[in-house]
Amino acid sequence: MKWRVIGLETHDAYLNMAFDEAISESLREGASLPTIRFYNWEPSAVSIGYFQGIRDEVNLEVCRELGVDCIRRWTGGGAVYHDFDGEITYSVIAPANIFPKNIIESYGLICGWLVRGLVSLGIEAEFRPVNDILVKGKKISGSAQTRRRGILLQHGTLLYGLDLKTMFNVLNVSRQKITDKMIKSAHERVTCIQMHCGAGKKEVYEALVNAFTDGKDCGAGIWSRDELIRAKELAEEKYKSSGWTYLR
């Protein structure tokens, strides 16, 4: 199977999520190749899971003050702060039938590519079901997946740096989650690349590209005109709409 790789790009939250959906549609219609893409978020943003309530998860007032975008994802899972400098995000969009039907196994497969990238940087990482990657017991990456009409989309973040102050200002962190894990400090449960190796962000990105494309028939690709038009349409009409943002 031939894959398309879209190299590291920077977009706002709405276009980032719209691209994932536009590719899913286009792939289903046979107009696009299975795609692996890497991207940053500018401005920094909070994304919430499909089933989450935005008012429950996000401090909207602080986000407005800081100029942080807020978006509901097409995928389930939890709220994530996407810092422009502090992370690299990936998406994999491909026919669902090339992955295990068992969803946790398919998380394991794709997260395994990310683990390989980290190992190539000298960072011992492990996949922790359902959807996390840990380094020395601390979360360095989280992913979320959806399967719609035969297409699998998995996207996830890799923390390069940590801006915990902003992260916990913009997120309404669940006390239940923290209490349950007996964790007093966020530093005890979250980590980032910079705490484990001196690689620059570009080097980390290249390690990810190598790991994600290893053993696949991949080619560097660009957006088609139709994908661009559809992504812009989805960004404006769906992802920026209050109907979508306040769905739950």
């Binding site: 899971g49 499909y50 089933f51 989450q52 309530g53 429950d56 995928t75 389930g76 899972g77 939890g78 709220a79 969803i103 946790i104 359902v130 959807n131 979320a144 997946q145 959806t146 399967r147 719609r148 669940s174 239940q176 989650k177 349950d180 739950r248």
Partner: protein, 93 residues
């Protein structure tokens, strides 16, 4: 009246339930950081609770959720029919 319940369930994810009810359930809204494939099945689950008595049994709720999961070949991750029923029952107390 509208009541809420929120719990980190044993399967690992957080589930929040908002129930509007009098003697019967009028509306249910479920949110959280769980995964459910296909996602739209949650709407069917929420609708299936409408009209049930406020003292509906845990088992009845579990069966309703199970039936929807099976009929849609759905997969719940980080939650289960039992934990969903438990949080709904908590909200109805």
């Amino acid at each position: 009246m509208i009541a809420h319940s929120s719990k980190k369930v044993k399967e690992g994810k957080i589930m929040t339930v908002e129930v509007d009810f009098d003697d019967f359930i009028k509306n249910v809204k479920i949110s959280g950081d769980f995964f459910l494939h296909p996602e739209e099945v949650l709407n069917d689950m929420e609708k299936s609770f409408v009209g049930l008595k406020k003292d509906v049994s845990f088992d009845t709720l579990v069966i309703k959720i199970h039936n929807i999961v099976e009929s849609h070949d759905a997969q719940m991750i980080g939650i289960s029919p039992e934990s969903m029923a438990l949080v709904i029952k908590e909200a109805l107390k």
